[in-house]
Amino acid sequence: MTEQTYSKTELMICVAARLFEDGATCFIGTGIPMLAAMLASKTTAPNLVPVFEFGGTGAIMEELPLSVGEARTFHKGISALGICDTMETAQRGFIDYGFLGGAQIDPYGNLNSVVIGDHDKPKVRLPGSGGGNDVGCHCWQTIAIMGHDSRRFVPEVDFVTTPGYLSGPGAREEAGLPRGTGPIAVVSTLALMDYEPESLRMRLKALHPDVTVEDVVAATNFELIIPDEIGQNLAPSAEELRLLREEIDPTKFYI
């Protein structure tokens, strides 16, 4: 049996897609989350309800949306309202999952998409929160998807844009964030991580094929919890790759 080659990005998308729960509502942002959502809806989560912040709900994603407001986000959707409705829906507890990205992530899953450096005199001005902060506040469970290197996985983000567990146990509750919400996973180009229940710190859960614990530790600029039992993520299947390459992103915007 010939083994197909695949990129780190393709693998990351596949691992993320397998996390979607069928029939759940899911806030989808620009980029990799859209590909993961499309792959999930074509494989293990055909009844996924995608929610795009500008109003598209329940779209049947036949083509990859390139913007959170474009028509593919409400193509054959169940409703196409506006941002107030989607955000109020999230604030009222109707959104099960949110997928997030960011320039930096810390051990508690806090994300930064505002500035590198000082806010008023930044080294790098990033795009801003967009819907990221709202997703991190209101969705029941959030999953971050990002490239894994030591500039991204940092001990403290320069600006807490999107809340993970903030400063640790009790912090979300103290801040006034809705009870029972928080990050549950990180899918990177090297591994799948979750959060240790007592300390709420990021913990290695499963390695991607051909990746070692040492690789992950070297790419993480903070102390990652390494459990005794570490899982193994499966390589993309032939069908997953076919879907990605032929149906989801044939023009290779991302993959």
């Binding site: 028509a71 409400f74 955000m87 506040c137």
Partner: protein, 325 residues
């Protein structure tokens, strides 16, 4: 109520709700007035240096791009922007027109971060950035739409977003939970692109309405660009589709392909090569200027812009339009 935490971000536009009500009473006539005019007339009449301005929806989707380009041509500067943007705000930044930002997102979506935003903020040309989440900035407009000075939310709590916004955290007097109070925002000018409007400014939008409902009610002057100007009978036949009533609008500009290179739902899709062109050229300040020289300063008006783009490209965009199936 005790203030538990106050954002250090500036309130870019101080406001007074009674003043706003008096403005609405005297400056927004309920008489039926033919408000049709060109981009040139609308922008020169209502936009000015230092004004607080916002657009809807955003650069690649149902966005008032013909108005955006006209504003650059006229060179109104020191703008204070309420900003949820892609191409439109990017171009204003590249043209050096922006002084302050109530920013939620300015970026190029799938194409990554905005080089124009980076240059303008990192150089200090943009003097002030006040942070808001997408929901927060929309709910600020909703507060204005409701005619009240603030709306509470649970967004932004516990993060640096509160610190660098102009929000204030209090304890809810009814249930004791913490909430962030979002101050109302009253734009001097808002610009919205719609599928249909009549000459008086009654507007209908197809597809997602984004935050059109809110921004239309959160501004002193509203400029509408519309793909199609329809007779008022058409509005009256489908009054349940009117999202913006005429008395909110101050100008109605007929702008076919007014959102190009962005899309307008059910009429035309996005012009990917055109969007990529901006993305690539705006990576440098020189490239951005070259782009603006060609597509903004090199044409007199929207009609000349469309001629420059050419029929063939526009037909391609028509083909890519979203269809009801």
């Amino acid at each position: 109520m005790e203030i538990l935490e106050s954002g250090i971000g500036k309130l870019i536009q101080p406001f007074d709700m009674d003043e706003f009500r008096e403005w609405n009473r005297t400056e927004k006539t309920r008489k039926l007035v033919d408000k049709r005019m060109t981009e040139q007339e609308a922008i020169s009449k209502f936009v000015y240096n230092g004004c607080y301005i916002g657009t809807e929806l955003h650069g690649s989707v149902r966005c008032p791009m013909s108005l955006t380009r006209e504003l650059i041509r006229q060179g109104h500067k020191d703008l204070r922007i309420c900003g949820q943007g892609v191409l439109e705000l990017d171009m204003w930044l590249a043209a050096g027109l922006v002084k302050a930002l109530d920013i939620t997102y300015i970026g190029l979506e799938v194409y990554g971060t905005s080089s124009s935003l980076r240059r303008a903020v990192e150089s200090g040309q943009v003097e002030t950035c006040v942070e808001w989440s997408n929901a927060a900035i929309t709910w600020r407009m909703k507060a204005t739409a409701m005619g009240i000075p603030f709306l509470p939310t649970r967004s932004m709590l516990g993060t640096d977003m509160i610190k660098h916004s102009a929000a204030k955290v209090v304890e809810d007097p009814f249930t004791g939970i913490k909430v962030a109070l979002l101050p109302a925002l009253i734009l001097d000018v808002a610009m919205i692109h719609v599928q249909r409007a009549d000459m008086y400014g009654n507007c209908q939008i197809d597809g997602i309405s984004g935050f059109a409902m809110e921004i239309a009610r959160a501004c002193k002057r509203l400029i509408i660009s519309a793909e199609e100007i329809v007779p008022t009978e058409e509005i009256r036949k489908y009054p349940d589709r009117t999202l913006i009533p005429y008395y909110l609008a101050d100008a109605v500009v007929h702008a076919p392909y007014g959102s190009h290179p962005g899309e307008t739902a059910y009429i035309y899709g996005r012009d990917e090569p055109a969007i990529k062109e901006w993305v690539e050229m705006s990576k440098t300040a020189e490239g951005a200027q070259e782009y603006l020289d060609k597509y903004v300063f090199g044409v007199k008006n929207h009609a000349e812009y469309l001629t420059l783009i050419g029929e063939e490209r526009l037909r391609k965009c028509d083909e890519l339009r979203e269809r009801r199936e």
